[in-house]
Symmetry: D2
């Protein structure tokens, strides 16, 4: 290895695999341009010192201690391709040393946003029941089948959380000329306005939106913050679409709001996954269900590899990573999204 | 009536009604600004000559003969609010006299286009079966449920027919950054390019599109032109969405193409409406059904009244109508869409 | 000629020439697909009857009388490539017979709109004087040179007249996120809204716009309608850009409004063209001048030929022309734009 | 001061002033929500320890030493409102401590981009000479005045550097439907594609663009990199617009390329500012000059204050700043833009 001066990457991408996130061509390129040391996450911290001191990059989110980071004098960036940050490495020391920890969750933004629009349109046009009734021979024709139908075009849309997912949703809604408003206490309002989105406080958003998308991350501050009180503020007949994490809402309250016919709703995430067979949401009328399928498309996973390759190229030139998202000192400890165990 | 010099409108809007197409406010305005003679369609032609000679506008598509038109010296415009042109009035004479015949079908463009996008997304994400399986407790979680899932964003989309409906679809697709191509032999190619749509011949469109929307009107020339041969040219796994009229396709061939798993499909229109209970499309896997519900939203019908009011205002000033679509000498006799009998 | 059944075109395009409006390739195509009879405008009406009865299309705006039109039984379309309609043919008979008269002035919309934006930006940033002062060595650096500078981005823009030119301007302004409002009494308001333009009455437009573009055609009703009273309603320091025809404004009043420093202005059109050497607008400070150069780009003229070819193709299939703009019974007699004598 | 627990801001914004960058309303708000200590830049480092240990934020770019930073235990963010980073504070220590250093130069992006578009259109339509000739009575009318005129719409545009300024330019060009390509070695290509911009290597950009905008920052690596060789690769007759810093180009070579009529050009920045009276660029034909006026609009300076207020609000909640741009460990030492001395 002494004569090989290609940068050294430790690869421990569990629960991802290199084959999941790199196309064959990109993987070949990765192995050509870098020395790759593939291993289990739990073994990384126990590498011997000679190797640790040579590591330039880590792909994965292995548990690491302070000693490891102190010895990893060439380490420049940890690519967390799981993308939910867990508290298994010494972030303060990493930040102090200027070692980037970056995530690739942005790849899910577009697939999740598309499913969000699909669910909104399905709710507004009662698409699923209409097909079921047609199968069964009791479909309603023409206007008779549109009693509660309404358009997304021109509707008032509320987006709770304006990170990558909120931006992707806003992009997809462009053609619908919706009046988009967003609530995101972590962002300056002018940034929303740059995206032609109206900043809104939560109550205004709840009470004036025809469709609400929840795409906020779970943090130590916002767990269950959408509860009975919040749902009661929503417009009668409006649609609520939950796309980020179930813990943001009080799920019982959400089901009550739908059961009472106050709102209609759809969700890609659930309090337990998989969900017990007898969970009442399975039969809830006015509710559309998706089993955490919004983001997990092959095309999304392959984009992770693209992002990693692009930032490796910048880091190799001693430039900062620009493609993946960097963990931040101020917020890393506030994140509460549970990591996935399956892809 | 002699002292009332407000313009005279004969209202015979069957199968629509004034209350369907005008909001209460607009209807009040209509009755305030015009003399309105409400009647059955079949009675219009038998009005006495004094009245005929006073008529300025007709709302509806009543059967009219040449004598009527000759006598209707002040007639300026016939607002066909059913919007499918049938051959029940002397079009050559109307054109010669410069009496506009206009239709209001444009109001359906946006609702139909939205349902089209809803169906495309539902097909691409298997939305309906996913919800059914979830109800039944056999849902697939995460990537396991996305075996055939793909994105509309960035897909190659083919639009057959680029009239109002094609334009509305193209508008909704803006945010998806789809590569849109269209085949429309009645339009100059540069007009497509102005809409940032690539002109395509039919074979190219069929063989390169990931999603195909059919939004062409039925004419004497295109009945059943999408048949076995056409479907065989489509990309394996691509989606076919029929939104305009069933007569454009050979419906048997379409079902075969879906049954063989070559393509997936959805349709809002059917060879017979209502459809026999034993029609095989009811149980066809890989097919999503909508019972001619795409356009018939209240908001669409109310837009008809808005369009009529706007063009009346222009016609009152001796300006040409700009909002409704004018029947054309060259094409009026080629149209073959059957009028609706229910709204 | 008897065995040649290609459609017959009479070509009398003065003041254009075929070489001005067709690229060599397109011209070759024209001569290959059609029989072309090239002649002076004034000779068309005197063709012998055998030929007149064979003519399918005319390119140009030759003087024609009723007898000619009666004899021209195969005539389908007159392509007026000068594009200002003058009263030298029997329009009522043409309309009765269903012979299209179409104009190609749309080709100028984009070049004129671009010059309009150029003039607006030049006025807002004092671009011309800044360069002159720099040449002379008395330029002002940084903020010192921006005393009256302002941005087009986010400005309130008024467009008077929302035809092809107004639409082209609105398109160019998209990236500037201007608040666009338009006054056009010949159009339904909903059509403006479809273009994301706010309909406005004239007084509102005048009194609230930071920049006003005049792109309305001259008609029998709007000559000189922008006068002292109109200019006095404009916001202090706002910019007025005249692009269509000088006769729409009272030019003296416009100069007074600029001279008094109430507004700044630019114009591409003038009461007389060429303008007398001693005309005071030549030295008027706060005014930018362009000598009717806005539209006359080679690329625009060549587009005329493209438009003609596209509509010929449709007409050959007995379809209506869709690319060129059709003269209308109601408005043809109201137009007052003088034809050009030079290209 | 002991009982006042509002955050403490040291204000030393030279060469800006608080009144330049805050509107009266915002300034009042600033003084209400924060304790403000106003002082000269050179005095900050000498504050006594009690005060230093209380400072939460600094507005300005005062020279600071390591001792100061060590003592400033509550310091969270330095708002560099001059915005060109100079090497007068211990950046490594600041980064280690997690003290943000942020700049507000983004406010200039839109004004500079607008001037860029103005210059491009002025060059393409020869706007300045046309007005001068008109003043002098030797203007050319219609097509005669458009010998070299061309459109920005549909043109191939190259943007060198795709930071805030490049993004603002790309935004303004949206309506022109230009084919935009960009060269930026500090950015991943996919980020350009997200903005619908084609990534290009420098030679491709130079040799295929009709208009080139230079908006890259000066770094230790790119000084004078646009030289004789680069200009010779440009298309004959294409336009070169320099907006960021003169040091990026070899100015002599640029003038030669214009003098030889190979290209046309415009610049807002010059090798020396102010420029000697006898500098040959003052009289260079085919060149448009602007005296570093592109960004220095009042509206831009006032936006600085808005940005500061928005990020203060986030920082007060222990969130990271999102509005201003953060200095980066990797790039701070590479920047070479000289700070301004006048606003």
């Amino acid at each position: 290895m002494t004569l090989d001066n290609r940068p050294l990457i430790v690869s421990a991408p569990y629960p991802r695999t290199l084959d999941l996130i790199f196309s064959p061509e990109r993987k070949a390129q990765l192995f050509e341009q870098y020395r790759i040391l593939e291993m289990e996450s739990e073994d990384v911290n126990n590498l011997n010192d000679d190797i640790i001191s040579e590591i330039n990059y880590i792909i994965g989110q292995p548990p690491l201690d302070e000693q490891f980071i102190q010895k990893a004098s060439k380490l420049r960036c940890i690519f967390n391709v799981e993308s939910n940050l867990i508290d298994n490495m010494p972030y303060p020391l990493l930040f102090e040393r200027g070692i980037h920890v970056v995530t690739t969750g942005q790849v899910f933004a577009l697939p999740v946003a598309e499913l969000g629009v699909a669910l909104a349109l399905a709710l507004k046009r009662d698409l699923i029941n209409a097909d079921l009734m047609f199968r069964d021979g009791n479909e309603l024709w023409g206007g008779d089948g549109n009693a509660n139908a309404s358009l997304l075009s021109g509707a008032t849309v509320g987006i709770i959380g304006f990170g990558d997912l909120g931006k992707a949703l806003n992009q997809l809604l462009k053609g619908f000329r919706a009046k988009v408003q967003s609530y995101d206490p972590w962002l300056p309002e002018s940034l929303l306005r740059e995206h032609e989105v109206a900043p809104a406080d939560l109550d205004t958003l709840l009470s004036t939106s025809d469709v609400i998308f929840v795409v906020a991350s779970v943090t130590s501050e916002n767990q269950h913050f959408l509860n009975k009180s919040a749902f009661s503020k929503m417009k009668a007949g409006s649609a609520f679409i939950l796309l980020s994490r179930a813990n943001i809402v009080n799920f019982e309250d959400l089901m009550d709001a739908v059961e009472s016919k106050h709102i209609i709703a759809a969700s890609d995430v659930f309090p337990e996954e998989p969900l017990p067979l007898d969970h009442p949401v399975r039969k809830l009328d006015g509710f559309v269900r998706s089993a955490h399928r919004a983001g997990a498309l092959n095309v999304a996973f392959l984009n992770m590899g693209e992002m990693v390759m692009e930032d490796l190229k910048l880091l190799d030139q001693n430039l900062p990573p620009q493609r993946c998202k960097r963990a931040e000192r101020e917020t890393v400890s506030r994140m509460r999204s549970k990591p996935v165990t399956t892809n």
